[in-house]
Symmetry: C2
Subunit: 337 residues, 2 copies
């Protein structure tokens, strides 16, 4: 299969056609429009929406196998609720005060309310799945999607927990890092693609291909996210660029830089153990990762995953939606947002 990834058309939003985006926004707003105080916290968490990458993946995956957007829309919205739940809880764990360019939920409302709001968003993810009955999806497909989503949620938790155990473990192997990212980040990409395939009525092999695509895409996306702090003026998450360094979060370039050994490894260790002044830590880290070629090497690994994602699509029939999924693979490692 030709792996030359297509370049996006200029000015086209990576999320795809505007109408689906509008409907996603409206549906997210509608779900949390209540007067209850908890609604206002959940509304703050989900809106203004982020990239809506997972719901758009779900919509395109469904379309790839002949599913209709209006039927799978609740599930698409659900994946965003589940994703935002993980961000809300992650920000408590990481003590991150900023998210998407403004105060995180835990900083704006306090950690206690953020715990409850995250839980509410997880429950609503499953409420969204149940609502697919009303849009005409067969119960048999909903139960299969339920199995995929609950499994993905558990994987995500395992990945979050593994990440916290790896904190500061510079001797982490690339394999362990990839396992962690496949659990933590790619799980919901997989779930979105699997749900789209299942709810859209895909055959077994098509759903398997969509899962493989989602897995590799998620890993590519996370590696690129790790790199954005060093390569982009703003970060994709709206968090300060030095968040990872400050939290001593293990990222792929750091692992690769440490494996170079020598004085660079010693200096990385000093930074990751807090021996370098906080104001200088991020700059020193960026310089080291550039000089050792770790940033370039991590970028190459992200590209490799994007190519694998692209190749997985070969099992799906050619369609504009498959082309869009292929574009996402390219964008996952090229975006600056």
């Amino acid at each position: 299969m030709d792996v030359a990834l297509k370049s996006p058309e200029d000015g086209q939003h990576p999320a795809g056609p505007g109408r689906a985006l509008d409907e996603l926004h409206q549906e997210l707003a509608r779900r949390w429009a209540g007067a209850d105080a908890l609604d206002s916290i959940c509304r703050y968490a989900v809106l203004p929406a982020g990239k809506l990458f997972r719901p758009i993946l779900l919509l395109n995956a469904a379309a790839c196998v002949g599913g209709r957007a209006e039927e799978v829309l609740p599930a698409a919205v659900g994946t965003e609720c589940g994703h935002v739940a993980s961000l809300v809880h992650d920000d408590i764990i990481d003590r991150d005060e900023m998210r998407r360019g403004r105060f995180s939920v835990q900083h704006a409302f306090g950690a206690d309310d953020a715990i409850i709001a995250g839980d509410a968003l997880i429950f609503d993810l499953f409420g969204c799945l149940a609502e697919c009955r009303a849009t005409g999806i067969a119960d048999e497909r909903i139960v299969s999607a339920l199995a995929a989503v609950s499994k993905a949620g558990l994987d995500m938790c395992r990945g979050q927990h593994l990440e916290s155990r790896l904190q500061g473990r510079l001797d982490c192997t690339v394999e362990t890092y990839l396992e962690m990212v496949s659990l933590k980040t790619a799980a919901f990409f997989r779930a979105a693609c699997a749900c789209g395939g299942i709810l859209g009525g895909g055959e077994h092999e098509q759903i398997r291909a969509l899962c493989a695509y989602g897995d590799h895409l998620g890993v590519a996306f996370q590696i690129h996210d790790d790199l954005l702090a060093y390569t982009s003026a703003t970060t994709a998450t709206g968090k300060p660029a030095d968040s990872d360094v400050r939290n001593r979060r293990l990222t792929l370039p750091v692992i690769l830089g440490y494996r170079r050994g020598g004085s660079a490894a010693a200096e990385l260790k000093r930074i990751m153990t807090g021996a370098v002044e906080p104001e200088q830590a991020f700059g020193a880290m960026a310089r080291l990762l550039g000089e050792t070629g770790a940033i370039a090497a991590a970028g190459a690994l992200a590209n490799e995953q994007a190519v694998l994602a692209y190749e997985a699509l070969a099992a799906l029939p050619d369609s504009p939606h498959r082309t869009r999924l292929a574009e996402f693979a390219w964008r996952a490692v090229e975006r600056t947002w």
Copy 2:
């Protein structure tokens, strides 16, 4: 309907027949038997098991409408996972160090891991539902149960949030308190009864009756829980008796005592605003609530709810399982554990 509640047979465990209990324990242990570090935290959270009240409700509700225990067992286990998730997250919010007579998850493993473990348990609740397909439950019933459980989860979050907003609000009405408890505590009782009825193949009216039963039972249960700190040597939750007072958690006897007005109300306010020394607060509170008759009045309201729960069962056919549900109504307000 005759509301004379049956008294339990001596020596019989309130949870019902031993075999179902054994299977619940085994299944809980099996779900979290993995070597993963997150498994060990979840295992610590769910085992040794508490009263298993919600799963046993589900099993009996299913049996009431002709359902088979082995078919609904995964869902029963799921309600326990969901319930434990709420305890794990509640203990973070309340800074409770003890639960079920030993360290709470947040105290034993830290709040960050407790957040992740609670999330994992919520996802597993839904994974359990999906597993009912393998035991022979029709997909149509699973999707209906999914809708009921996700709604209950959201209700529970709304109740937790309402409770935190009511903290220290002594002028809270009994109606608002009952609304909060119906959301926070009774939601999972309702969900367990509804799931049993739905998965067991009950008719619409039977499921409605089971929901009403679960709702009143849950409210009675929570009021009685509020009272146990003052009436029992040990508390049902394994938390210190002074936990509610220390956390200034609004409970029904406190609301009723405050409504008596006069010097008692002024003294309650002093205790609930932290103006009384912590070592004396609980004793002073217990004395005031006894003297004002607030404990007796709250007990009467709990009994009222238990009677309503009992009466709701009239819509179900007579069976040993209905008798057991009736016994639960009685035990909910008589237990000392």
